[in-house]
Symmetry: C2
Subunit: 211 residues, 2 copies
């Protein structure tokens, strides 16, 4: 089972590493980090660098593709190279998946035309403008396409995917092995739960970052 | 605010990257990944490589140290180099923290002698044998020392730490920005919640990995 995670400049680390931590524990699975070229790829914060083991195109027919998000997605929405690769991979994949604004790339590639999908709460409108039908849920599965909401939602999505691939018992064992019994200190983790003033604060901060 | 995350061969990626994703969003904070030397450091699965920007000792007095876990901790329990560095850093730190079996290194350095602390559920006995007092809680704070349970618990710990550093409102905004509203597909994420047969399965798998 070949699972590939395509990285790009200014991706969000947890979008990729949360699902990696789950999926690398699926028996017989190999997770490969790809990039524009083999070599270092830097995150949105510029504080973390992950090494891609190969260029995107070197993996032509993986079983699973998992596209992370991050502000770097914005500059790739008309990038024929990555969008063409995603279209080709999707044709043969068993599962095509995304975390956070990774779904913007799937949509820009035409993979989500008229399909229910999710993304980071602050990018729902943009996802809709790219042809998908935004759904305010944490994990959305339609056929072989699974999209997750913002950043940390990739962990929930990956456990769901692990259950599809290897069965509930294996996914439950993985959840135990990463001690995933979350106890967030606050209850402000979604657009629906956070107070409006907090939402405005985060929207302004994110708008400033995307400039 | 200098926050350092010391990596080592065979660390667990999510232990480090979960807290990084939270703490890198604290205003004025810089997160630095350190290693035995500047350069690539590989995770326990051998599928992921993160670049350390400097050697451990190059940061002598960070405000925060956050030690991740992983099977690589076992070979460092008598390593004077990293243990000596941790002792020196702890002397001047504002916060000394760990995720998962990172607390084994703090304990081996003598920092947890007689102190309540947590770790991955499967390593509680070992933590006790190193002088700490193991507590079955997800995040344990005693003075300036905060330890987190296994792997994913680092996200909860980092949000708690972000609140200490920058206030509740900032921590809540970070929680919203990473859309941390967890919805695990199963309820098997802790030793106390998982069925005993599942616990045995994970224990055997982890014992095999540590050989």
């Amino acid at each position: 089972m070949e699972i590939v995670i395509p990285l790009f400049d200014r991706f969000t680390a947890l979008d990729a590493v949360g699902p990696y931590e789950v999926l690398s524990r699926v028996p017989e699975a190999t997770v490969r980090f790809l990039g524009p070229a083999a070599g270092p790829v830097r995150t949105d914060t510029r504080m973390l660098t992950i090494d891609a083991e190969a260029a995107w195109e070197e993996m032509a027919a993986p079983h699973v593709v998992l596209v992370p998000g991050g502000f770097g997605t914005r500059t790739l929405l008309e990038d024929d190279r990555i969008l063409g690769w995603l279209r080709r991979v999707h044709k043969h994949s068993t599962w095509t998946t995304s975390v956070c604004t990774g779904s913007l790339l799937l949509a820009a590639a035409g993979i989500l035309d008229g399909v229910d999908a999710t993304t980071h709460w602050a990018a729902r409108e943009l996802l809709g403008s790219l042809g998908a039908r935004p759904v305010a849920e944490r994990v959305v599965q339609r056929g072989k396409v699974i999209t997750a909401a913002g950043v940390s939602a990739g962990i929930d999505m990956a456990l769901t995917l692990a259950a599809h691939i290897a069965g509930d018992r294996t996914a439950q064992a993985i959840q135990l092995s990463i001690e995933y019994d979350p106890q967030p200190p606050f209850d402000t983790g979604s657009l629906e739960k956070a107070p409006p003033r907090l939402v405005d604060l985060v929207r302004s901060a994110e708008a400033a970052q995307s400039d």
